[in-house]
């Protein structure tokens, strides 16, 4: 585009197709775990190289080694023909290796411009050149085609927009090798498109991109090559044109794709919950029913009001108008406690912020909702506490050495099993799952879906929120589409196609660029 852009990204010295970074017998051992086993892999200059694999396959470890966050156990890393130690993050950055993480690691209280130049501020005689930096940052952002202001505080932007800033930040640092770790997990489609444009553009400028994602369609949309990791081993690398979904999934999990979306149809029973013209913060005038034995899917973009709707049902927020009926009778749900007593259970959106006590044992997390039941007036029955925890760990096949291991030491998928599992012993009738499979690998997804069926067959009802259309499409008996806080359409199982649903969810968005603030 403009000449500034070229100045900002110093042209890499290598022509496309040559090896920029080579891993030779790379190994990483943690106490008790062999996280990476003899990885041999060469990344070419100016390619988009996707890395896929289940949780625990070694993707995060690989990123940590490449960005110098952790030292490798053995093996060599060859950067532009010379061995590199990669002992510190600083060294990696000096070589031109950067990473954009799934969760934004920037300073939320500083402005966008301050974040972009964090660590290399423009100052004259020790005085920050704030206005100049804002101008410069705005130029970069405009140039990248993001419709975002540089002078606002980062925390005021949506998570998706923050992610774009994080990506923009990485591009201004002479990056030759940029790693994206699940960048689209929290992005709207529009934001994801902007990010993809940026990624393609960087590739055009000679930057090597490592793209890590659970979403196959993104891999096929973006990548030139794809490598599959399983249990710390590199299973194989394919040119994207010569492979397909089915092959990659098979390489990842040794299982076919049809087995993932496990769906059984049950005859719906009595109505459990009814919302009548319910309004609250972030949504208005929503009516729906949930019956025993059915999955009600809520589809829409992030920020469409789905999470706000269910958290209001659950008593976390106050409704401003409308009624909630439970088993035919109007109820007041003034707190989570009321909701739980009625028989609702909520597995929230963010494991880290809402779902888990990370620095406490797995067993305590699993038992948290049922401590009342497993204790008399005074004391907890420790036999029951142990038995309940062990039962859930065995039933859900949670991979943990013991129930006393800290929740933080488990992989993402196993953590998600805890978030869901803690409600199973509680005996709820209505389960609300908010994005239950974000950042979860295919194998665990399949297990979670089978769990849904088990719940339904026991007479429970499920509300399933997902921003991932195939998930709600394949699983929901009734599919409601949300857009900007309103319920805009309702479909039965497979009565509409993907395109129609997507259009309904997006409609206004496409006419109005830059919305979603």
């Amino acid at each position: 585009m403009t000449s500034t852009a070229q100045e900002l990204h110093p042209a890499p010295t290598l022509e496309p197709g040559r090896t920029i970074l080579e891993l030779k017998g790379l190994e990483k051992q943690y106490p008790g775990t062999h996280a990476l086993k003899r990885i041999n892999l060469a990344f070419k200059a100016s390619e988009i190289h996707a890395i896929v694999g289940e949780n625990g396959a070694g993707k995060s470890t690989l990123i940590k080694l490449l960005t110098g966050v952790m030292p490798r156990t053995s093996g060599d890393v060859i950067w532009e023909g010379k061995p590199a130690a990669l002992a510190t993050p600083h060294e990696a950055m000096a070589l031109g290796i950067n990473a954009v993480h799934q969760e934004v690691v920037l300073c939320r209280h500083l402005t966008v411009a301050a974040n972009m130049f964090l660590g290399e501020e423009d100052s004259r005689f020790g005085i920050l050149q704030q206005r100049a930096m804002v101008r410069e940052a705005q130029k970069i952002i405009d140039d990248l085609g993001f419709d975002l202001p540089a002078h606002v505080v980062l925390g005021d932007l949506t998570i998706g927009q923050q992610q774009l800033i994080a990506a923009a930040r990485a591009t201004v640092r002479g990056t030759k090798f940029l790693i994206f770790d699940e960048p689209t997990a929290y992005l709207t489609r529009k934001e994801a498109d902007q990010l993809f444009t940026l990624i393609r553009r960087l590739k055009g400028e000679g930057v090597t991109i490592i793209y890590i994602s659970h979403r196959m369609e993104e891999v096929f949309e973006l990548a030139d090559r794809v490598s599959v990791l399983r249990d710390g081993t590199l299973v194989g690398t394919r040119n994207i044109a010569e492979t397909n979904d089915a092959e990659l999934v098979k390489m990842m999990i040794n299982r076919s794709i049809e087995q993932v979306y496990h769906k059984e149809h049950f005859t719906p029973g009595a109505t459990l919950l009814e919302a009548r013209n319910l309004s609250g913060k972030g949504f208005e005038n929503v009516s729906m029913t949930v019956r025993a034995g059915e999955i009600v899917g809520l589809y829409g973009l992030i920020g469409a009001g789905r999470s706000e709707f269910v958290t209001t049902l659950y008593g976390r927020h106050r409704k401003s108008a409308g009624q909630i009926l439970w088993e035919g009778k109007e109820v007041q749900v003034n707190s989570e406690h009321d909701a739980i007593r009625l028989g609702m259970a909520l597995a929230p959106e963010s494991r880290r912020d809402q779902g888990l006590c990370l620095n406490l044992p797995v067993g305590l997390n699993l038992n948290l909702p049922i401590y009342k039941r497993i204790s008399n007036n005074l004391l907890i029955s420790s036999a029951q506490e142990k038995a309940e925890a062990d039962r859930q760990i065995a039933n859900l096949r949670i991979k943990t050495p013991t129930r006393n291991a800290l929740a933080s030491s488990l992989s993402g998928g196993n953590q998600q099993k805890i978030v869901i599992g803690k409600w199973l012993a509680h005996g709820a009738k209505l389960f609300i799952f908010d994005e239950p499979t974000v950042g979860v690998d295919v194998g665990t997804k399949a297990e979670i879906y089978r769990l849904f069926s088990a719940l339904l067959s026991n007479g429970a009802g499920i509300i399933l929120i997902s921003s991932y259309l195939p998930e709600v499409y394949e699983l929901a008996d009734t599919l409601h589409v949300f857009r900007r806080g309103k319920l805009v359409a309702t479909h039965g199982f497979h009565t509409a196609d993907h395109e129609e649903i997507l259009t309904q969810a997006l409609a206004e968005k496409q006419e109005k660029p830059g919305g979603q603030i």
Partner: protein
């Protein structure tokens, strides 16, 4: 949301017990060294004295630990102790039966704790701020009530209690056991104890799991206030006066004991035996330093160094080295 486990999941079984044993070993080691180094340390008189010195901070530290486990802090406990000495002294001098005077004083402690809970839960104030505010105002209220004078307690029976022993052990130390055992059961074997940990670890996750977070916060500060008022009664009994400026800086000693005992100021990590051992380690160091004629100024420095060393090594082990 990392896509895989960062490190191997290691069983943390019995970690608490192990750390407790280490502290106990440290305490015993100090005692052995001091017994050898000074002729007077191992005397019955000195040991009784040591137990009396450590007991009051130990009880404060237990209440403090409940608060710290929820991720908060209670800076007011020293002031509550001083204030409680005034209340109990005034009541006894006014002819209120001892039993009733103590009960009312304890209720005052509960009320102060409830006020802290109110400030944190309803007014949204940080624990540091609300308890700092009561720290200074309680001292002020106490000075107003006494006109800045000490109140001598005219009741020998009341004062006799803290000077006497039962089965050869000072009554004050029995009070530690009286508080410690229910506190242990409460923290480790009741669901409210579990809720203290879960709120300290992640309040939002606890709330969504049906834990009454507000009530848990109220409970932690109320128990801390109660422990502090109880210590106030014991102190009044020991020194025979009510004085609002007593127990200056005890809040910091209580926090130090708690931290030495393995409590994490970030919340969700702590025990009952830890702060008790921590308090007696501090008391032993002070006592030993006195016997060895170490300058009192040095004692403060030693305490500071000890906090750094113990917390540093504890942190190393928690990170799994």
């Amino acid at each position: 949301m990392s896509t895989e486990a960062i490190a191997a999941a290691k069983p943390k079984r019995n970690y608490n017990a192990l750390f407790g044993l280490t502290l106990l070993a440290l305490l015993v080691l100090l005692w052995v060294i001091l017994s050898v180094a000074t002729p007077s340390f191992a005397s019955a008189n000195n040991i009784s004295n040591l137990l009396r010195q450590g007991s009051m901070i130990a009880i404060l530290a237990v209440g403090q630990t409940f608060v710290i486990i929820t991720g908060g802090i209670d800076l007011s406990v020293g002031a509550v102790v001083g204030f409680a000495t005034v209340i109990v002294a005034m009541l006894i001098n006014a002819g209120v039966p001892i039993f009733l005077a103590i009960l009312i004083t304890l209720l005052v402690g509960v009320a102060i704790g409830l006020f802290h809970g109110f400030g944190i839960v309803k007014m949204g104030l940080p624990p540091f701020i609300i308890t700092l505010a009561t720290l200074t105002s309680l001292r002020g209220i106490g000075l107003l009530m006494t006109n800045g004078n000490s109140i001598s307690i005219n009741n020998d029976a009341f004062q006799l209690f803290s000077r006497s022993s039962f089965l050869g052990v000072p009554n004050l130390f029995w009070m530690v056991i009286l508080v410690g055992i229910p506190a242990y059961v409460f923290l480790h074997h009741s669901r409210w104890g579990r809720y203290l940990f879960s709120v300290g670890s992640n309040a939002e996750a606890s709330r969504l799991s049906g834990v009454n977070v507000q009530r848990t916060i109220y409970m932690a500060y109320t128990l801390s206030g109660l422990c502090a008022a109880f210590v106030g009664v014991l102190l009044a009994s020991r020194i025979g006066i009510g004085n609002p400026t007593q127990a200056e800086g005890w809040e910091l000693q209580a926090i130090a004991s708690s931290v030495i005992g393995g409590t994490s100021l970030f919340g969700a990590v702590g025990s009952v035996h830890g702060p008790l051992l921590g308090a007696f380690i501090l008391a032993t160091i002070n006592n030993g330093a006195n016997l060895l004629n170490v300058n009192a100024f040095w004692q403060r420095i030693i305490t500071g160094v000890l906090i750094i060393v113990i917390v540093y090594f504890d942190g190393l082990r928690r990170r799994g080295k």
